[in-house]
């Protein structure tokens, strides 16, 4: 395989130099070429038509560069290696090398996608000097990612490695400038029949699929690194993907503070290749969606409102249950802040917050002491089933001035559990309460320095929800809706109960963010 890459590495004598810093990159998965066709053969997402196959195979022709004009994307991920030798490698290398040069002329950063396999190291070596870095996809072990970085840096000291594995292979090492994840799913709502297949009851609430919780867990890292959410095709999304699917995916992750790595579905790609006006308009609008979130980095000053502080341990196992709970807390609009176990509770728990320990069993005495201290000071502690399963060996916790709710293993149904948590904390922590949001996830954030709040909503249904009411426990001065494709809209403020306020949001298309300004001198409880 080395010979296939040798030509390229010799040609690539001029070191790659990124046009911008990694934290400024707006990624676009721009896969194509014969190797991409080879990758799709036999995958769970085969190419459906010969026409689409032809479009993908010829994607690295100069003509496709026109699609990048006036878009927000400044970092392209190109298909480079499947991690194993294929007959398409040589042709792919030639195509990508030429195309990479054209991208660089336009000031774009270029990354090579390398999948895990027996020949990954050779592929990374060949990429050194040619690209700004590599995206390692699949089950790369941590040492391999570090080794890949060393290879690249031996040629280009600015080169980066972005490990983008599935959830089990997320790599949080400080050497990697982006926290990336390939476990994203197409957000949306399961139909009743699909939900039933997943175990939902006949008259239960609809199931919302979202990546927001994954972003939340990664951001809990606290390093302030960008979070990229990649994806593979998922069963529960009809093909072909429609514009709303792309837009929702961008909004779902963007709302949570991450970046959805846009990638073309075969249908949209083919229609773009044909130059169809509708497809081009969708492509433009999708860029506007991405740009919207990119231009609102200042919103990161708003911190998640901690009605519930969820203490999470990535190494504890049992991710499915705890992640399901995180998702359902969002579905039930319970404002929550995720804190990694190693950081708990230093400066993380404000007055009035409840603490949820769901996915790990009793830990060291020092940790138990912290929990005792918390409840002794009046805190509400919610202990998940694994704590209960510890039985007699679980350390004794005394509520003191606070309260403790222990959830037995038979109460692990995430839907009921999350509703119960919502009911427990609803009146104790001054969070807003949105109504008519069954197909919406909302995230509530607050900036104490400006005493302003940000309420974000993403619609997961196929139709926009109308007539949403939000009740705030505080008096509001103004509420301004920012939507992606509309002008800012000032909402009328209604007087609510007990000195609070209400607003009515006429419609949430796929996303809106509402900036709330409070009346002065009406301090936010709990912060």
């Amino acid at each position: 395989m080395l010979s296939r890459f040798l030509l390229i590495t010799v040609l690539a004598v001029s070191l790659a130099s990124a046009a911008s810093l990694p934290e400024e990159w707006v990624p676009l998965r721009w896969d194509g070429g014969p190797l991409e066709v080879a990758r799709r053969l036999g995958s769970e997402n085969p190419i459906e038509t010969a026409s689409q196959r032809g479009v993908i195979e010829g994607w690295y022709a100069p003509e496709t560069l026109a699609l990048l004009k006036d878009t927000p994307y400044n970092c392209l991920v190109l298909t480079w290696s499947l991690g194993r030798a294929t007959d398409a490698d040589t042709a792919q290398c030639e195509l990508v090398t030429k195309y990479e040069g054209l991208l660089r002329e336009r000031g774009l950063a270029v990354l090579a996608s390398v999948e895990f396999g027996p020949d990954w190291a050779e592929a990374v070596q060949a990429a050194a000097g040619l690209f700004d870095g590599v995206v390692l996809e699949g089950e790369f072990p941590a040492p391999a990612a570090v080794e890949a970085l060393a290879m690249l840096r031996s040629v280009n000291p600015d080169a980066v490695v972005i490990p983008m594995g599935d959830w089990q292979h997320v790599q949080r090492g400080e050497k990697f400038p982006i926290l990336a994840n390939l476990s994203g799913l197409w957000p949306g709502m399961l139909s009743v029949s699909e939900a039933e297949e997943w175990g939902a009851g006949p008259t239960s609430n609809p199931w919302v699929l979202s990546n927001a919780w994954q972003v939340g867990v990664l951001l809990a890292d606290g390093s302030d690194r960008p979070v990229w959410m990649g994806h593979r095709p998922m069963k529960y999304r009809p093909q072909p993907l429609e514009f709303a699917d792309y837009a929702r995916a961008v909004a779902d992750v963007g709302m949570a503070g991450g970046t959805w790595v846009v990638a073309l579905g075969d249908d949209l790609r083919e229609r773009l290749h044909k130059g169809e006006d509708e497809a081009l308009d969708e492509w433009r609008r999708l860029g506007e969606h991405v740009k919207f979130f990119g231009e609102r980095q200042q919103w990161r000053a708003f911190k998640t409102w901690p009605s519930v502080v969820v203490v999470h341990d990535p190494a504890a196992g049992g991710e499915f249950d705890s992640f399901d709970v995180l998702n359902m807390l969002s579905v039930y609009h319970v404002p929550h802040r995720i804190v990694l176990r190693k950081d708990f509770p230093d400066k993380q728990v404000e007055d009035g917050s409840a603490v949820l320990v769901y996915d790990f069993e009793p830990g060291p005495a020092q940790e138990v002491d912290k929990l005792r201290e918390f409840t002794g000071a009046g805190g509400t502690l919610l202990l998940g089933p694994r704590w209960r399963e510890a039985g007699d060996s679980a350390p004794e916790l005394i509520a003191g001035a606070g309260s403790i709710r222990r959830y037995p293993p038979e109460e692990v149904d995430s839907d009921r559990f999350s509703r119960n948590v919502r009911d427990l904390v609803e009146d104790k922590h001054a969070a807003p309460r949105p109504y008519n949001v069954g197909s919406i996830i909302s995230l509530y954030r607050y900036d104490p320095s400006s005493d302003r709040a940000l309420l974000q909503m993403t619609e997961y249904g196929d139709y926009p929800t109308e007539n949403i009411t939000v009740r705030f426990p505080r008096a509001i001065k103004s509420a301004t809706v920012h939507s992606i494709e509309g002008e800012p809209l000032e909402l009328k403020i209604y007087e609510g109960d007990k000195g609070g306020s209400e607003i009515d949001i006429p419609e949430v298309p796929e996303y809106c963010g509402i900036i709330i300004e409070f009346q002065q001198g009406d301090g936010h409880a709990g912060e």
Binding site: V192, S193, E196, P202, T203, S204, N205, P206, R416, R419, D423, R433, Y435, N436, V437, G438, S439, G461, D462, Y463, T465, E466, N467, I468, T469, Y494, E502, D504
Partner: protein
């Protein structure tokens, strides 16, 4: 809960759809002994009242108001009925407000429409009602009804301003009351001799219902009679009801009333005979008929402007579910008469027997209520005013899930 795990379920496995000879005997026996199901004597003796129908193509308040006014006039006016009185309106807000059919607004599918409720409140107030209470046993919660309505996209603020004194009560639990009322079923009842209900159902002068024109998986059709199934509090009759005392924080539906897998909380009277079939197609129509006696429905409105066809909500599977626009409003003063007309409009025979569409695997609630003497389901005795049945006809078939019963449902 797996109903087959209990004693009743072992004998009559609810959910299997099986109907044994013994079940049939029970049905016949119940009919003969308890209700004279569809008998000539009941048919002749049950009272008849006029029913009015109007064509209404949209939920615009002005149009609704015009047609509702006409309907009330055609019934002889409502002033005598409501002037100086408290009117309690049972709404139809079935199932979680988060569960939409094809993403549509709930009022366009399986809930009654909020604009119709608002217009009704205004007309009642204008007719002299001193207080209008909007009530429903909200699905799986004992929380405020206003919150539940807001979750359904309703403007509570608008409803509060629709009449002189508009109040709200979630009757799934005690709510704003101080005690549960016991309302007895005259004659002893087919399933229950009495019901423990939220106090508002007793402390009212006029009880009104705003139902939806729909199929129902358990009962074939759900109109004004079936809407009263939801007056039973799940704090007492629900899946997580208390054993002795009510559970004031209910989180489940009315599975036990369907399946008969447990008795209500002891604050309420138990069933007359717990050895009767544990089949929802047997039980639910009878409970509904009993409720029509315990809490008579003085005034009925059926919202048939837009609706869901095939079942009562989007959770019913394999029901050929779809939306439709019958463009109808129906009003009446006797729930059996009103429902007989509504059933006929849907393309069904309101006197159809069990095993006949839409009562595929259930008893005919209308005939059971007729047997109780509530009203007649005999169309020949009902004075239909305004639109005729022929003019209003909007066939709901094919609706394969309607009346198939055999599964827990709302």
């Amino acid at each position: 809960m797996d109903m087959r795990a209990n004693n009743f379920g072992k004998r009559y496995p609810c959910g299997s759809g099986k109907w044994t000879r013994r079940n049939w005997l029970w049905t016949a026996g119940g009919a003969v002994a308890g209700s004279s199901l569809g008998s000539g004597r009941a048919r002749a003796a049950a009272p008849a009242s006029p029913v009015a129908m109007a064509r209404c193509r949209s939920y615009r308040s002005a149009e609704l108001s015009e047609h509702m006014t006409t309907l009330f006039d055609q019934l002889g006016g409502i002033g005598n009925l409501v002037s100086g009185k408290t009117v309690t309106i049972k709404l139809n807000l079935t199932g979680s407000p988060g569960l939409r059919f094809e993403g549509k607004a709930l009022g366009e599918t399986h809930y009654c429409h909020p604009n119709l409720v608002g217009v009704a409140c205004r007309l009642l107030s204008e007719a002299g009602a001193t207080r209008v209470r909007l009530v429903e046993s909200a699905w799986a919660t004992g929380g405020p009804l206003e919150d539940y309505m807001l979750d359904g996209g309703w403007s509570v603020r608008s409803l509060k301003n629709a009449g002189k004194r508009i109040e709200f009560e979630n009757t799934n639990a005690l709510g704003s009351g101080t005690r549960y009322s016991e309302l007895k079923v005259a004659g002893g009842g087919l399933i229950f001799p009495s019901f423990r209900l939220n106090q508002v159902y007793e402390d009212t002068d006029v009880f009104m219902t705003i139902a939806k024109l729909k199929n129902h998986a358990t009962c074939g059709v759900t109109l004004s009679l079936k809407n009263s199934f939801g007056i039973t509090p799940t704090s007492i009759y629900g899946g997580d009801a208390g054993v002795d005392e009510p559970n004031e924080s209910p989180t489940k539906g009315r599975g036990p009333l369907h399946a008969g897998n447990r008795q209500p909380a002891k604050i309420a009277a138990p069933e007359n005979d717990p050895s009767t079939p544990r089949h929802d197609g047997y039980r639910v129509p009878r409970i509904v008929a009993d409720l029509a006696v315990a809490r008579p429905i003085d005034l009925q409105i059926i919202d048939g402007v837009e609706t869901m066809i095939g079942a009562e909500g989007p959770w019913v599977r394999d029901g050929n579910l779809r939306t439709g626009k019958p463009g109808l409003l129906i009003a009446g003063l006797n729930p059996v008469c009103t429902d007989a007309v509504g059933t006929a409009v849907m393309g069904y025979d309101p006197r159809a027997e069990r095993g006949t569409i839409p009562f595929r695997n259930c008893d005919n609630t209308l005939l059971l209520a007729e047997g109780h003497g509530v009203g007649t389901a005999d169309l020949s005795r009902i004075d239909v005013r305004g639109l005729s049945i022929e003019e209003a006809r909007f066939p709901f078939e094919p609706a394969p899930a309607a009346g198939r019963a055999g599964a827990a449902s709302g």
